[in-house]
């Protein structure tokens, strides 16, 4: 217990404490002014909004990928299984540059979208795309083992009781893996909020439009506004903490229900 606390303090709590203490050099008023600055508010809205949308998209995409890997056998299944981890392994900057190249107006996919008048790279949509990309493995890897554990007999029981395929999946399988989906979504969201490398290339970084909060912190640091940077960081910390806590509570409640 003592050892755990010491390590936790050294590695997590002390740096966080520094982050919590630093902004107050500006005074309560100064922190408030920093956080309510239009540019900061816009960046927060983009960072958390895009992260939430990306995490939600990952929930659907990740479930589909995990389902395909677990439930179907097809040529290339193992390859797909291995590919899932690629966003983990790839340096985020590489991912960002690759995504930008593809979604830029002159890139293969970007050109397609541009034809129908949708701007992908250098817009909030580009931010969502990048965050979805880096968050996907979290959901797949959280759902996959739990889906493998779902008892086939439970599904067979549902069939003998008269459930259609849709009813079986929605009422029996999904509730069983919902805690895992939420866990994966929480991780994807947390990662997306703090993501810097892959977003920075595709975002375009237009203040008020496609500028993410972590970039704003870097900008403030470059201007030697350490307290202001810490204030933005603290704001992100509080919002993330509340969001993750809420997700965790739901997850715990769901799990406890079925474990007794």
């Amino acid at each position: 217990m003592a050892i755990t606390l010491t390590w936790l303090s050294l590695i997590v709590l002390i740096p966080l404490a520094a982050l919590v203490i630093k902004p107050w050099e500006l005074g309560l008023d100064g922190v408030w002014r920093t956080l309510t600055d239009d540019r900061v508010v816009a960046a927060f809205r983009l960072s958390f909004g895009a992260a939430a949308i990306a995490a939600a998209a990952d929930a659907v995409l990740g479930l589909i990928v995990a389902w395909a890997i677990v439930r179907y056998s097809f040529p290339g299944r193992r390859l797909l299984d291995a590919l899932v981890d690629l966003p983990f392994a790839l340096p985020t900057a590489v991912a960002g540059i690759a995504l930008t190249a593809i979604y830029a107006p002159n890139g293969p996919l970007g050109a397609l979208f541009a034809q129908v008048g949708i701007k992908t790279a250098y817009s909030p949509l580009g931010v969502v795309l990048a965050l979805t990309f880096i968050g996907l493995p979290f959901v797949v890897r959280a759902v996959q083992p739990v889906l493998e554990e779902v008892d086939r007999e439970v599904e067979e029981a549902a069939r003998t009781l008269g459930a259609t395929d849709y009813q079986r999946i929605v009422r029996v399988v999904l509730p069983a893996i919902l805690p895992a989906i939420l866990g994966g979504v929480g991780l994807a969201f947390a990662r997306a909020v703090g993501e810097y490398g892959s977003v920075i290339f595709i975002a375009g970084n237009l203040p008020m439009v496609s500028e993410i909060a972590p970039l704003l912190i870097i900008i403030k640091l470059e201007q030697f506004d350490y307290a202001g940077a810490a204030a933005v960081g603290l704001g992100m910390l509080v919002i993330s903490f509340v969001a993750l806590l809420a997700l965790n509570l739901v997850q715990t409640w769901l799990t406890r229900r079925s474990r007794g």
């Binding site: 067979e156 069939r159 003998t160 009781l161 008269g162 459930a163 009422r171 029996v172 079925s258 007794g260």
Partner: protein, 346 residues
């Protein structure tokens, strides 16, 4: 006949699970499918439920071709060995599941469903536990919930796949009696898979014995026990002693002892079967073949006597009154089977 299974065969890859099984079940009958693992009994049950499709053969119920219906359309209740309850639903929701997935037109109202669930909870003696989750119940209680859930759809047939296999011996015996009672109350045709011969003989109206994907014998428990069709059935029904013997000129030879052979006995080398309690044990000058006593254990109402004789170990179960005083480890006694059944071959 209610259920007719006609030459049903099924192979998984190159492994033949069922090789042309035919049997029938009467309306309201309690039929046990008994066999060792790999005998195909569970495969047959899953074919009846619609969870497997046979390669060849026909299955009909009251004249209706069951194979044309999917598992979902068959209205056949199934109870699994490991309960297969929906863990995220309460007991009441589990039981109501089969009613709640019906199309809107035939779905009973909320009140009707609640009333039906209450009836079933009473039937399985879990009135107080409707709001619990499966994880909060014992194994025996979970299996009763699974049974109530299967009965909720008013099934035309109830299938149970080793339902008590995961429970301890005491609970298993209690549930066995209770299941028979529920069957007698509901009157639904029930097919029960087990590898426990005692369970099958104790519960069923008739027992069908399977081996290697084929039906070996079917009949009332007592009839099957008294007249096993072959050596496998005799052995499998339990409590059997099997010895090598020889029949010549109307005499049966067992080691150094000969006696009158049964009139319809096969000739030449035979397998001699008798039940563990169907033998008499006498002193060295009595009737029977020689056997060395190696162990003596009082086991409940009977004494278990371990012997070495005819080159193998023999286990007898006799009432204490029939065990002679000389019986002690290290002594040589004589064993005379009372009622033997002979099968040809070695």
């Amino acid at each position: 006949m209610t259920l007719i299974v006609d030459s049903v065969a099924k192979a998984f890859g190159r492994f033949p699970a069922l090789g042309g099984v035919s049997l029938e079940a009467r309306e309201g009958e309690f039929l046990a499918l008994l066999g060792p693992s790999g005998s195909g009994k569970t495969t047959l049950l899953r074919i009846l439920a619609g969870l497997e499709t046979p390669d060849t053969g026909a299955v009909s119920f009251n004249g209706e071709d069951l194979l044309r219906l999917s598992a979902r359309e068959r209205r056949i209740g199934m109870v699994f060995q490991h309960y297969a309850l929906f863990r995220h639903m309460t007991v009441a929701k589990n039981i109501a599941f089969g009613l709640s997935v019906r199309p809107r037109a035939t779905r009973p109202s909320k009140d009707q469903v609640a009333a039906r669930v209450a009836d079933l909870l009473r039937l399985v003696q879990l009135e107080e536990l409707g709001d619990r989750y499966p994880a909060q119940l014992s194994g025996g209680q979970r299996q009763r919930v699974a049974l109530a859930r299967a009965l909720a759809i008013e099934p035309r047939m109830l299938l149970l796949d080793e339902p008590f296999g995961a429970l301890d011996a005491k609970v298993r015996r209690e549930l066995r009696r209770w299941l028979r009672k529920v069957h007698d109350e509901t009157g639904v045709t029930t097919i029960f898979v087990t590898h426990d011969q005692e369970e099958a003989l104790d519960l069923a109206d008739r027992v069908a014995i399977l081996k290697d994907g084929a039906l070996v014998q079917i009949g009332a428990p007592q009839a099957v026990y008294d007249a096993p069709a072959d050596a496998f059935v005799f052995d499998f029904l339990g409590g059997a002693v099997r010895l090598p013997g020889r029949v010549e000129g109307g005499r049966l030879t067992l080691g150094d002892w000969t006696s009158k052979a049964p009139t319809d006995a096969p000739l030449g080398d035979v397998q001699v079967f008798f039940r563990q309690d169907q033998a008499s044990l006498r002193g060295p000058d009595g009737e029977g073949f020689n056997a060395l006593v190696t162990g003596l254990v009082q086991r409940g109402p009977a004494v278990r006597i371990d012997l070495e004789g005819l080159g193998q170990s023999i286990e007898l179960l006799l009432p204490p009154g029939e065990v002679p005083d000389q019986a002690a480890p290290g002594r040589i006694l004589r064993v005379a089977p009372k009622a033997v059944t002979l099968f040809g071959g070695r």
